[in-house]
């Protein structure tokens, strides 16, 4: 057994311990990096305002916007008229989302599980998806009126496609071996669907849902732009027409919480149901 001192002998090779270089910018902690980026953005904004790169009439300062955010926040918390508008838009978003999930899942089943759906229905879905769906808004208004229904319909219409794609992709996710294994067990089509294809497709299904949460808000707001009503989209339209740009910014920020909230709810449900999926679990660790 060699003595540790042997390492210091002149004929022994020197150790080759070395460090991997990590550049400075990659060592900044996440929270610090995010705050720095926000400060940088606000500085650029303030500079653009101060030097009048854009007319002050249509470009508010960060401070004006912050004051308005506080004002709107107060209005929402004290049950002002804006809370009613937010509630209207929330209803449109939630109803549109639920309809999109239901219809998207059924169409996804049709397309993903049956040869008829895949061959005959899918081409039409692809064609409809390629259309600028927002352009259907006037049609929905004339069919369903200026009430909430036309906004729900447009929101659902725009959000349904990622759900269809996610469901159909999920149904194709089971590999050849897994299908063969189920066949050797004498599994019926229904059993293979319920015990193999649906569970294994859950990650795809949920990524479709997450895309839908973003699109459904787009649909509801565009519906309000074009069809009036009492929601947040209408408030934005009015504020913009009055050149009240701080208000527009501020309403958009509050609206984004709506989309984020829905996204968060879907993520929580996903973690309960798809606890076994590696990427899902990793995402959870990052998010925590």
């Amino acid at each position: 057994m060699s003595h540790p001192d042997a390492m210091t002998d002149s004929d022994a090779a020197p150790t080759t311990v070395w460090r991997e270089e990590v550049s400075l910018i990659d060592r900044v902690p996440r929270s610090v990096a995010m705050i720095l980026l926000l400060i940088g953005f606000l500085l650029v904004w303030q500079a653009a305002y101060s030097f009048e790169l854009i007319s002050k009439i249509i470009m508010p300062s960060p401070w004006e916007t912050a004051v308005d955010i506080a004002f709107v926040g107060q209005n929402l918390l004290t049950g002002g008229y804006m809370l009613g508008a937010l509630w209207t838009t929330t209803l449109e978003v939630v109803e549109g989302f639920l309809i999109a999930v239901l219809i998207g899942f059924l169409f996804g089943l049709l397309v993903g599980e049956t040869a008829f759906g895949e061959r005959a229905v899918m081409p039409y879905l692809v064609a409809i998806n390629a259309m600028p769906k927002v352009a259907f808004a006037p049609l929905f208004v004339s069919w369903l009126g200026f009430g909430i229904a036309s906004k729900v319909a447009l929101a659902a219409f725009i959000a349904v496609f990622p759900v269809i794609v996610g469901t159909a992709a999920g149904l194709h996710a089971a590999d050849e071996n897994a299908r063969m294994l189920f066949r050797t067990m004498g599994s019926s089509r229904w059993q293979t669907l319920v015990k193999l294809k649906l569970p294994i497709g859950m990650p795809h299904f949920f990524s479709g849902l997450k895309n839908a949460t973003v699109l459904v808000v787009v649909g509801a707001v565009v519906g309000e732009f074009l069809g009036g009503g009492k929601g947040f989209g209408e408030l934005i339209r009015v504020a913009a027409s009055q050149l009240n740009t701080p208000r527009v910014f501020c309403l958009i920020i509050y609206l984004s919480f709506l989309g984020l909230g829905l996204y968060w709810i879907v993520t929580v449900i996903q973690h309960r149901f798809v606890f076994w999926h590696r990427e899902t679990v990793l995402q959870g660790e990052i998010g925590a």
Binding site: D175, N177, A178, M180, L181, F182, R183, T184, M185, G186, S187, Q191, K195, L196, P199, I200, V274, F275, W276, H277, R278
Partner: protein, 270 residues
């Protein structure tokens, strides 16, 4: 050459009642214009371990699928326990290169899956005791409630073995079951497989491209030619049971390996 090949396949004179009987099984994939199997005759005696060896693409997996009732043959007949195989059957246990465990089910839930599919959830719950015994048999005591993501490749394959055995199948069809594992684990798993098969007096057909694996496990090795696949020769392995890994250095083991290799080489590069 054809005549002698057919004759060479005859000495399948192993004792025991025939379990599986294949007569003149051929398979042509019309759409791809591939002649995959050509007049395969095969009899598996009860309690015997048989291997089919051939290079990739020779049709050995096709043969296995036909035997399992997953593919219809183009010609010929397949009988299991005297009844024709006309579709998947519950008295057949099958295992693939990948363990194919379902990650949302614990090890024991994966094992009882065939029962759940066949007889419903209640029967599956009732089979848990049996599943515990099987997991114990393959040395997975204490891992019953673990999810597959926490199992190593070898452990996952052992769970797959238990899932195959839970239905108490008459015959086991193994499609390169351990070829995705590293060599050390594979040798070990092969010995485990032998132990389990001997304990249960199982009738097994193994499809593999490893000569050593085929020789160390089998009573009889069929050498399969290149496409269209047909049996070139049947080599009887007269090594004593139970086999052990040291037998691989036995000169007789080397002779058998060489004999099989010479048959494989003949058609390999045509």
């Amino acid at each position: 050459m054809n005549e002698t090949a057919v004759k060479a396949v005859e000495p399948a004179g192993l004792g025991g009642r025939p379990v599986y009987e294949l007569h003149g099984v051929s398979k042509t994939f019309v759409r791809r214009n591939v002649h995959a199997l050509d007049r395969i005759d095969l009899t598996l005696a009860e309690g015997s371990f048989t291997a089919v060896i051939g290079s990739s693409g020779c049709g050995k997996s096709t043969l296995l699928k036909i035997m399992a009732g997953l593919l219809p043959p183009s010609d010929g007949s397949v009988y299991l326990s005297g009844k024709p195989v006309m579709g998947p059957r519950r008295d057949i246990g099958m295992m693939f290169q990948q363990a194919t465990l379902f990650p949302w089910r614990t090890a024991i839930e994966n094992v009882v899956l065939p029962i759940e599919v066949r007889d419903g959830k209640q029967a599956a719950a009732a089979a848990h005791e049996q599943a515990y015994k099987l997991l114990d048999l393959v040395g997975l005591n204490g891992f019953e409630l673990v999810y597959p993501s926490e199992l190593s490749g070898g452990m996952a394959q052992r769970v797959a073995i238990c899932r195959m055995l839970i239905n108490e199948p008459t015959v086991l069809l193994l499609d390169e079951p351990f070829s995705a594992l590293d060599e050390l684990t594979r040798d070990f798993m092969n010995m485990e497989l032998q132990r389990i098969c001997m304990q249960r007096d199982a009738t097994v057909l193994l499809v593999t491209h490893s000569i050593a694996e085929a020789v160390i496990l089998s009573d009889l090795v069929y050498v399969m030619s290149q496409r269209p696949g047909r049996f070139e020769e049947a080599v009887k392995i007269d090594l004593p049971r139970p086999r052990s890994l040291d037998m691989m250095s036995d000169p007789h083991f080397g002779e058998l390996v060489n004999r099989i290799r010479s048959h494989l080489d003949k058609g390999a590069f045509l």
